[in-house]
Amino acid sequence: MYLFRRKQHGAGYLLGIIISSIFIIFMQLPLSAGYYSPGPMTAGHENAKCEWCHKQVNGTLRQKFQANIQYLIDLRKSSVPLGYRQVVNDDCIACHKRSDDRHPVFRFFEPRYEKARKEIRPHYCVSCHKEHSGERVSITPTFCVTCHKNLKLKNDPVSIPHEELIKNKQWHSCLGCHDFHGNHKVQVTKNVKKVVSRKKIELYLMGGPNIYSNEKKEKARETPDDET
């Protein structure tokens, strides 16, 4: 009886090991990526590969363990992730290089943007473009208020002056004229009546139809390694 139970236990352990191994191997396959992706990809990123953004830190597992222990006892300045490192701006810029970005992320590292960094974290791409959410932009479209609430133009060319729009807190209207990164070839209207409606803006940010020109100044690369 005792021997029979031991054999049963052994078979159970073996079965568990086999099932776990199959599961682990399956999860490593590219076709299983969809199972552990936290949500749908942003419009245009459908064909992106996981490894384009999710990168391992260099070094062996042992080196990483050692580095973290050294960090804990103050022998090292920074810790090291054991698996994948955080997605950083460079991962986005690898495909989305912009020579004339109106709001490039790096500008927000300047000391004077401390308040903006606290409020909306504009120094990181992922603060507004949260991946796996299915949305084009994941921030409320009134974020311009953070930096532009004191905007004053001496020669305002717009039919309703910016100062008045600001006074009336019409922050949703900004994106109706201005393309945040300035990558769409578009003539900014001076007539506030022609501004894109709030509903259309929100739909666009959620991944809906383009509200700006389809013609872009600089196209995103097909892959991060694409040199064309």
């Binding site: 590292f109 300047e110 004077r112 401390e114 960094r117």
Partner: protein, 290 residues
Amino acid sequence: MMKHRNFVLLSLFLSTVIVYLFVTAPPPLVTEGKVGPKIPVARVFEILNEENKIVRNMYTKDIVGNSKTSGLKYSEYWKESDVEAGPLPAQFLRATAVSLEKSKLRLGLFLGSDYPINSSNKFSGDQLERFLLLKQSGKPQFFFVKDVALYSYMFADVAVVKPCVECHNKHKDSPKTDWKLDNVMGATTWTYPEEYVTYDELVELILTLRNAFRNAYSLYIKKVSSFKVQPEIREKWPKDGYFLPSVDVFMEAINQKASSKTFNAIAQLRQNGYVANSDVISGARDTGKI
């Protein structure tokens, strides 16, 4: 008996962990594997700023400043396809900064003022306080930006030639119209994440900055190729007429004007044992910024 056994097992386990983590440790990760003398980043910023000052003065005086002789135009709208003009000095610096951002180094370069033409370049918060201190004392300001963990050095941006003053005084959006020559019109702020850099990193930073100057000037030359009547782009400079120096000639001029200064600064660093300018570092510590 049981307690004794647990103690032996625990000791064995800990000994194995210590041997695993420290005694037979593989080489540390490359991110922390810097070797060589530590050069304080404040000194590095001073060297880079001197290079930038030389190039900025050269572009402002010799290129933009001679626009009356050359007939070449410079406009804030220079990037528009229907505008035949080149970048203004502030935009040249901005183009340099954009190029730096594209490099692998995390070197930041920014231009701002308390009275900028474009309100988005207006200083605020701690940076404004630093700028006012800079204007008052005449000394550059070294400080640490806590929330992004960046070392920062702010240098005065002085009106060196008449066109700076004239353009800022005449501009329709300028909030200040009584600028005079030699006024501190703004400041150039540098940022870098490390407190110290190695000699190799210093050289790489200088080369990266030089490359950024090249890229910024190349953008202008590329734009010129779309002009209906293009200026001759070879050895001659705008002081001689409708000419522009080629990218290589422009870079050679930078080399001649900046290299000896930069070399002397590096040599001085070595002579002094790579120590920081004590005034700068102690000043930053006193204010709790480092």
